[in-house]
Symmetry: C2
């Protein structure tokens, strides 16, 4: 039955109301200003994390280190996805890797190479691809590693035992190593001492910004420089090192001492962050020291330039670790969890991680709800010694709870005001002992689910 | 400027297109058919879980047990929020409680009362409120428990040591015990042997359906009946029992044997579920046996009626535990994780829980993505012994991965088809030993975040 003109007018007005209501519903269900089509398929580039640094930092060139990146089409199209780092003869190398029992072929390969006899006179190289983790790929996975590292070794005139590799991306798919090998000549031709940012971009997966950090100290007779890059955004609960991290320095330092410096700083940096409590099969941190600084060799880490070097290394590692949290999938808040006066260091770590990994704490933070009861529950479930009547909780510096009870001075508005910030501090004092632990995490938002409900397809 | 009639027609057609597009966008961003205003504030009632049973089951009356529920306005308005259970003289009582170190005052009180000397000739009672957990409420919390249980004891003529209480809801707010005490006369007046469903509704918080289960066995000389109710939806990673569970039976059985029967079944039922890895401060399970069955007393759990009783109790507990998962906050998929051939029972549990709690596995399930690589990663991070080349993974009965590699027979379509179901099975065979473990969980969806980013306000 045909409509009269009057009918059309009524219909149009009805539809206007409907459009308004639907728009309101959409505004309520899409918490942030994502393009409309993003949530369903996450095909468009992810918006840059609101917690990202303003720009990639200016990193110093490290004598003896050069970088290249190419687009090999491992999985992603229209972007770089393989990086090569060339390291001059005499470079000392140290590493830290995931303790996952299902670690990837390239991780096992790096560990074997670092454990073997090292010819320090040879140069070295690191080749990394994104888009495919080459994890749980059976014997074919090791073969891919051999082929890729062998190809790089041949092109650079290095022993294969001095070529380290990492792969990051989807687990369980065979690595299309031919695509990488085909690009090795291009990579070698493109090596450039100034190419570190390009390299940082090539190793990104769900990262929304490249991560870099640097430090410089005065050695005995010259400057010592450190520059590092990292990737990581999800599957972040490192159990040795996080995702992929490469740090370079021109320090003169023996491999064993370099490893000692690195190992001493992993716990308070990469092992102190968590995005989603999931530990990767591929976590790898490689630290390379070219020895090309004019400064005297570092022979002790306890004092002078050695101690300064360890501190600078810590700063670079902590900076990169925090950048990984700042790029946590879907993150809108950066959260420091500081636990003090625990009965033991293990207890302090347990409590801090129980809070940092609690989905209920993380969703409350996403909702800007100062729901401190969920922090109490997280302390309770941690398995660490805790006494309700001795613990206290602070949001920022505001005392929220103590003596087993909400603090009389606490006003909900103060907690709510702290929650509105982008950088949050949760302090839990257990009042039992002298151990403390600080970890960093982010909130759990709709975007984490958007990204992870459909990452592969 | 006034529109002509023709303009209205064009306008109406344009608006129709707009409505269609907006509806499509909404369908993409709202995973299930929620009322429009729900996501932002969760003020409207939550839609019933798609995994809910069709209706509350018909539960048998248990002689010697009667129920009442009232609306006391503890926190929620316009709904019942306090339940009272009256138990006849001679009732044996057993319990299982959270091991959280920050457990609530009522949990500590129940544990103390069950550990103390029990006068079996006295009756007993259970009083439970929703809306406030009376947890982390300091000494005032214990006082509230004393006042509420004391008031019930007086009204029913019972020793206070025989009145058990639970509280569930927000942590850290003082319990408005006066509102509950004011309703005690109404509760006592309303006691009804047929009131179990009413009681199940009164203890709900973010639950979207009341949970009940029953079993009946032939004892020696008569039937023995078991009926139970539970509440639970979020903060579900029980470490002894989950949330609140009350099970009643008319069996004649001594308290110690009843406790033994209960304790033997907790691990495979309530300790085998997880919604979000967060353990509550308030988990409590109370099992009451009135002894009013015509059947002979149960004096052993090993054979005959005693063994049948344990099996029936297990069935009721497992049914209630799975209903809690089916009402997991935001759940759209019910997932059984079955781990076999682990090196030890502890390892089997670690692997099963690592998979069931992995946000990456749970979001992949929400997205119907057969992303088995994330299962590999969860196995790897669990800390349990695992050998990449010996483990195998199945979705339902479909072999996905074995021999450290994707199974040659596996087709992605088969995995994807399984993922589209509402009841999923993930099987991981570790190929190392003889221990196995089955746990139940649900997916992690946008609605979990909707519910938890703003539960309190």
């Amino acid at each position: 039955m045909a409509k009269t003109d009057g009918d059309w007018k009524i219909e149009a007005k009805r539809l206007r109301g409907k459009v308004r209501k639907l728009k309101e519903r959409l505004a309520g269900s899409e918490p942030d200003a994502a393009p409309a089509q993003t949530p369903a398929k996450v095909k468009a580039p992810l918006p840059v994390s609101p917690l990202a640094p303003k720009s990639f930092p200016a990193l110093p060139r490290i004598a003896g280190v050069s970088f290249a990146a190419v687009a090999a089409g491992v999985k992603y199209q229209n972007r770089t996805d393989v990086m090569l780092v060339s390291l001059a003869p005499g470079t000392a190398i140290a590493g830290a890797f995931t303790r996952s029992s299902t670690r990837a072929a390239c991780v096992l390969d790096c560990q074997a190479k670092l454990a073997g006899p090292i010819d320090a006179r040879a140069g070295a190289a690191i080749v990394v691809n994104s888009g495919n983790a080459n994890a749980f790929t059976g014997k074919a996975g090791q073969r891919s590693v051999d082929l890729v590292t062998g190809s790089v070794a041949k092109a650079l005139g290095l022993p294969a035992a001095r070529v380290f590799s990492s792969s990051t991306g989807v687990i369980g798919d065979p690595l299309p190593h031919d695509r990488i090998i085909a690009k090795v000549p291009d990579l070698v031709a493109a090596l450039d001492e100034g190419g570190i940012e390009m390299a940082a971009r090539a190793i990104m997966t769900t990262d929304t910004f490249p991560k870099g950090a640097a430090a410089e100290i005065d050695g005995d007779g010259g400057k010592i420089r450190i520059a590092g890059i990292a990737k990581g955004s999800g599957m972040i609960a490192p159990d040795m090192a996080t995702m992929l991290v490469y740090i370079f320095t021109d320090a003169k330092i023996a491999p064993k001492l370099l490893q000692k410096a690195l190992s001493s700083q992993v716990d308070d940096t990469f092992n102190a962050i968590t995005v989603d409590s999931d530990t990767s099969t591929s976590d790898a941190l490689i630290l390379a020291a070219t020895g090309q600084s004019a400064a005297a060799p570092i022979t002790s880490l306890r004092a002078g330039a050695g101690a300064a070097f360890v501190q600078a290394l810590h700063d670079v590692m902590a900076d990169l670790a925090k950048q990984v949290v700042r790029d946590g999938e879907g993150a809108t808040k950066f959260v420091e969890v500081r636990v003090t006066r625990a009965a033991s260091p293990e207890d302090a770590h347990k409590v801090a991680m129980a809070i940092a990994n609690s989905p209920l704490v993380k969703t409350a933070i996403a909702g800007e709800d100062p729901n401190w009861g969920r922090i109490v529950a997280a302390v309770g479930k941690s398995g660490a010694a805790a006494d309700r009547d001795k613990l206290s909780i602070r949001f920022g510096d505001t005392l929220v709870a103590s003596n087993g009870w909400r603090a009389p001075s606490y006003r909900e508005e103060d907690g709510a005001a702290h929650m509105k910030g982008q950088e949050l501090l949760i302090q839990v004092d257990l009042g039992l002992g002298r151990a403390s632990r600080t970890v960093w995490t982010c909130d759990l938002t709709h975007r984490y689910i958007d990204i992870n409900a459909d990452y592969r397809s």
